[in-house]
Symmetry: C2
Subunit: 393 residues, 2 copies
Amino acid sequence: MAVTFAKRTEILKRSEIREILKITQRPEVISFAGGLPAPELFPVEEMKHIAVKVLKDSGSQALQYSTTEGFEPLRQKIAARMNAKFKTIVQPNNVLITSGSQQALDFSGKLFINTGDVVLCESPTYLAAISAFSAYEPNFIEVPTDDNGMIIEELERILQTVDNVKLIYIIPDFQNPTGRTWSLERRQQFIKLINKYEIPVVEDNPYGELRFEGSPLPSIKSFDTKGLVIFVSTFSKTFCPGLRIGWIAADSSFIEKFVLIKQGADLHTSSISQREISAYMEVYDFEEHIKRIISVYKKRRDAMINAMQEHFIGDIQFNRPQGGLFTWVEMPQRIKAVELLKRCLQHDVAFVPGDSFFPNRQVENTFRLNYSNMPEERIYEGIKRLAMVLKDY
Amino acid sequence: MAVTFAKRTEILKRSEIREILKITQRPEVISFAGGLPAPELFPVEEMKHIAVKVLKDSGSQALQYSTTEGFEPLRQKIAARMNAKFKTIVQPNNVLITSGSQQALDFSGKLFINTGDVVLCESPTYLAAISAFSAYEPNFIEVPTDDNGMIIEELERILQTVDNVKLIYIIPDFQNPTGRTWSLERRQQFIKLINKYEIPVVEDNPYGELRFEGSPLPSIKSFDTKGLVIFVSTFSKTFCPGLRIGWIAADSSFIEKFVLIKQGADLHTSSISQREISAYMEVYDFEEHIKRIISVYKKRRDAMINAMQEHFIGDIQFNRPQGGLFTWVEMPQRIKAVELLKRCLQHDVAFVPGDSFFPNRQVENTFRLNYSNMPEERIYEGIKRLAMVLKDY
């Protein structure tokens, strides 16, 4: 005998984003590659107060093992906020606290996917969701999208012809990587189809609360009459990612199984971090905090869009997102984003080539830009450099 | 179509311990069922200082995304402590920080086990390891054990005859559930066999630092010349579990793959918790803290053993552990631990029946007792009640 790895590990790939992040840690690089929130907006001073308060009020419990389901007052607050913001009707016992929303994606794969099953996703889609699901060896089918979201006719054609679709993964609000948001009509058409075919849906919504303009749209979950939609979100973008607190909100028949999966995976999420977020929401105005984030990111989005409008020449398309952290650039076919990145790195500017956001398709002429992580001047300077390299290409 | 779950979920079971923990949360119950550290030993006051210090010194980084591998200064401290305490030779880059050691077990299953592969374990073994591995649908083979650890002849017989053993899971120090420690001779014989058959080994060592008496024994990892041993541990028993910080120390060829698995599973472990533990070790004397835990647990072990010696009558065997959190009781065959538990709960005393620590075998006349979580008087009172119920049985 000798050491052999499980078959699932053959397809595990290093996340291109995370590898690039390492390269771009040199301070002189203007990196649009990450998806990092702006650290200057983290409530550091408030968290000093909260950390002491939690330890003072409930130190023994905050440092002890706790239930797999999560800290009850936090589950209550999450359910209440979801119902107010996303028009859902979820109870606290529909909520499971996870170690970041990445864990919710992993668990969704673990719960639904046998080797060879089909997962449907938007084309393009969030690359770390591809990583999470890949561990369970599915086949991905990419559903074509346009500016209004998934193209429902294409989705129906797939559902009619493919018989082992076990999960549909979508990001309807300010999608990663494109920044696009599904229209109300698409949402309604989508759920109609889901109800007909009864396929579980993961609605990943880390950015929905970060809307700069326009009216919030009801979540897909809000239209979910059959308990098929697994709503996944996180405090990583509205509060801070370092605490690793996300959640799943789903029908109790799903939550029950997710709890068993979590028991085997990490017992429970940090007791103290859960209590800290809960206490923060009691002591401070969380909605005000989110408003601050929105006002800063909106300016950064504007800076990026303005800079691209000013400096990009030729047939370069980009999206003007109404919220979230990202925009998406499409170049003429002959320009390869990976090659462009290499040239850009020589000028100390970075982004993520679009290739890795397509699980199957070969799309080489797109890239993702993040605008949340740096001030406007730097965004402006970075886009100027990028435009220069692009012009020389 | 309709909702179907992955096959792996059919064998997921609620952890009996966790369910019992829920029942026994009534304050009048004397529960020997959990595996909880003593909360009065948590450094609550020190953690107030540390939490503020970490936020003051590095608030933005502590609340931001961080690397999958973990906080470098913490990895350095873990490697240094392991080399001092467990006689290993590991470098910081051999260490991956995990969200509790439970996650390390899950990842080990994910890395090595295909459906139907064989996992060897001690009989009995830690039940949450069974849960973690079960998600990857192995067959367990229980290797017989005695007071000195795994019986090596039995292990060899299995390795000679079973050709798809992919992983061996062991807890050589103060085992959960039995409290037993492998002898030096067994450790040496074991690694010799492992080197011959080249099977990866998970050496789970959450309790090794909590030795009350006798000399520490070198870890199995310390004899590992072929890079086959994956050493897994945690701060849950030596510091506090609420932070959810564990680690894997292994050959870099394994760590590389574990990092990819972790990227897909939860990106990284809490940035702030990692920095807090690291800062604690810089500001305070961690070894002194562990000594305090040891002195308290030793008294509790003594109380439990003394109470059992005094009150148990007839053919009841129990172990006198030299460290850790648990002891193990074997009763005559005709006494069923589950039935005994039901009767005990009527007298407000609880424990975990041994059944769930055997993945295959039907062993009904054993149970596990935890002594770390309550003062001596209560231990004494609980054992007295238990002895009374046992006598009436």
